[in-house]
């Protein structure tokens, strides 16, 4: 393996080289990286190899060697499975709603935060809005149930006012707005960090010049602020589009049952229920693999688009 080889370019380094010493140096480094490398090999590349399940009728008891190979049968079944397409439809719809409502929200919040001059107020508001990012989805869902549930705080208030309550939790019609509201509540503050950093880097002189020319607040926003942070907006948009189908799993896993499959099934929960609830692991793996491949294709094309637009994109070349 690589471990026994001395670096060929090492002789070009400064100082009088001692070959024995250099080999020792490398051994230490390889020892340091070994546990981490093993982790990636087993749990990432092992799992990548585990995608062979998608071409098998895997039975846990028989293992990969003992289970029957079925070729592309799972994929053929997938394309004609109405439940699969219903999950695709829900996933795409939620992703679009997230893009329309969740993506601009942190930008608006960042502009508001950036416009606060008082340091203490701004720090306080930032501390508060970053907090939900660190709460787990179980806690967030529990909080929403306590607030909006049938016996929750909001419905209690509405009853006190003599207005009929609204069923938000467990209502298939309101499920998609609810999950988007939850993700905004949890992540909007956190997502402002990058926008705030970009806003802090905008050249003050540009504002000054614009103000001297008599530009109003709106015109300064439109002609100075937004063009200045355009690269970061495009980069984040590309990242978002690249992960278009990754709308999250835990949030939907926790709430899917309360509204049923028709409204609540997304691709990841479809994989879970097919694999772990029905024991159809091969089919579930096929759907997961399909989603992963589409995901890589999306990131790749989103990055191409970013380059076309003259921005740096997610990765270079």
């Amino acid at each position: 393996m690589v471990m026994t080889q001395a670096p060929p370019e090492a002789t070009a380094q400064t100082g009088p080289p001692k070959p024995a010493k250099r080999r020792h140096v490398n051994r230490t480094l390889y020892l340091l990286l070994l546990p981490g490398l093993l982790y990636f090999l087993v749990f990432h590349y092992g799992a990548l190899f585990g995608n062979v399940l998608a071409f098998q009728d895997w039975i846990p008891f028989l293992g990969v060697r003992g289970s029957a190979w079925v070729g592309f049968a799972h994929f053929e079944r997938m394309f004609t499975d109405p439940l699969f397409w219903s999950a695709v439809g829900n996933t795409v719809l939620i992703a679009i709603l997230q893009l329309v409502f969740f993506f601009p929200a942190p930008l608006a919040l960042a502009l508001l935060l950036h416009s606060i001059v008082g340091g203490t107020v701004r720090k306080f508001v930032q501390s508060v809005v970053y907090l939900p990012h660190f709460l787990s989805w179980v806690i967030v869902v529990a909080l929403f149930q306590h607030m909006l549930g049938g016996a929750g705080v909001v419905n209690g208030w509405l009853a006190d006012l003599g207005v009929g309550g609204i069923q938000v939790i467990g209502n298939p019609d309101l499920y998609k707005p609810l999950v988007v509201a939850q993700v905004i509540w949890k992540e909007c503050g956190w997502a402002t960090i990058i926008f705030l950093a970009a806003l802090a880097n905008v050249d003050e002189q540009m504002y000054e010049a614009a103000a001297i020319d008599g530009a109003s607040w709106w015109r300064r926003l439109w002609h100075v602020t937004l063009p200045a942070i355009r690269p970061i907006i495009i980069l984040l948009l590309v990242l978002r589009l690249g992960e278009f189908l990754s709308i999250g799993f835990e949030q939907f896993f926790l709430q899917r049952q309360s509204v049923g499959a028709e409204a609540g099934e997304v691709l990841d929960t479809f994989v879970y229920y097919t694999g772990f609830a029905s024991g159809d692991f091969g089919y579930a793996a096929a759907v997961g693999l399909f989603k992963g491949v589409i995901g890589v294709a999306l990131i790749y094309s989103a990055n191409k688009v970013a380059h076309r637009l003259g921005e740096q994109g997610v990765y270079k070349s």
């Binding site: 749990f43 585990g50 990969v64 416009s115 806690i139 869902v141 209690g156 960090i193």
Partner: protein
């Protein structure tokens, strides 16, 4: 007192009122649900029942809900499990992340570039749920706490943040140490680690929060429910609505108070570490974002 730049001037009173109201509303939107949960968990059982399951302002504080769930039932055990997984997992994750990040940050590591690509590629194609389940199955981690740690040992984002920080340490320091005869191990211990306390704190806390919050994996990897961490218990009987009796815990506290007390106990450690986390995370996130 105006700190506004000269070209901008002080906004009109109307604008300032609108902004103030907007900010107060946003802050309330985040804090009020947390307050309502704490208040309900601490309220007198009778008040909770009279009010229909929730309380905003407890008339009399009652700690019954807490003493009930902390008396040694499934919630107490789950808190211990979560605490143990968080401590052990964070320590292991930090050691492995530091080792890999340090090795990959050294310019002279033979094979460093392909190894880095090997690691970064996993970011593009994260392991699917079923294949990962297969790996956990094949490595015999079922029903073992290791199943909640090992599959999440290193987070690529944390690795990139740490490697970026190690790379920003001036090369002259390493050169000087090398002249003194220090090997890579000595350099890591004497130069890198003392300089990286802040980045280790933030990465460690990111790991700790992730371990504490993990709940789903216990559902698929554990047959034995007594091994569940707090998140999984919370899911089962707060968001999932399973009866308390199922857990062998029925007492005088109102069920809603008990549920909310579980939510509070699951949230509390996060809120406690949050101020420490906050000092570093913005910087950590930004370096990571720029490198990625």
């Amino acid at each position: 007192m105006s700190g506004y730049p000269a070209w901008q001037g002080r906004p009109t009173l109307g604008v300032r009122i609108v902004k103030g109201v907007a900010l107060a509303f946003i802050v309330a939107l985040v804090l009020f649900p947390l307050w309502a949960v704490v208040a309900t968990s601490l309220a007198d059982p009778q008040q909770v029942i009279d009010n229909g399951g929730w309380v905003i302002w407890p008339e009399r504080l009652s700690f019954e809900a807490y003493s009930e769930i902390l008396a040694g039932g499934i919630v107490s055990r789950a808190l211990l499990v979560s605490g143990g997984i968080t401590v052990v997992g964070t320590a292991l994750s930090l050691v492995c992340t530091i080792g890999l990040a340090y090795a990959l940050s050294r310019p002279r590591l033979y094979g460093g570039k392909p190894l880095l690509l090997l690691v970064l590629f996993t970011f593009l194609f994260p392991p699917g749920m079923v294949p990962l389940f297969l790996v956990v199955h094949e490595t015999g981690l079922f029903d073992s706490y290791a199943a909640l740690i090992l599959p999440f040992l290193i987070n690529v984002f944390n690795l990139v943040v740490m490697r970026g920080f190690f790379q920003s340490i001036p090369e002259e320091l390493f050169e000087a140490a090398r002249l003194d005869g220090a090997g890579e191990w000595a350099m890591l211990r004497r130069i890198v680690l003392p300089l990286s306390k802040a980045v280790m704190a933030v990465v460690g806390l990111f790991y700790a929060v992730a371990y504490w919050n993990r709940f789903f994996e216990a559902i698929i990897y554990f047959n034995d429910q007594t091994k569940w961490p707090i998140g999984t218990v919370l899911r089962q009987y707060v968001t999932g609505g399973a009866a308390l009796a199922e857990f062998g815990e029925a007492g005088t506290a109102s069920p809603q108070s008990v549920q909310m007390a579980v939510v509070v106990l699951a949230t509390l450690p996060i809120v406690i570490v949050y101020p420490f986390l906050q000092r570093y995370f913005v910087k950590g996130v930004l370096t990571g974002a720029l490198k990625a």
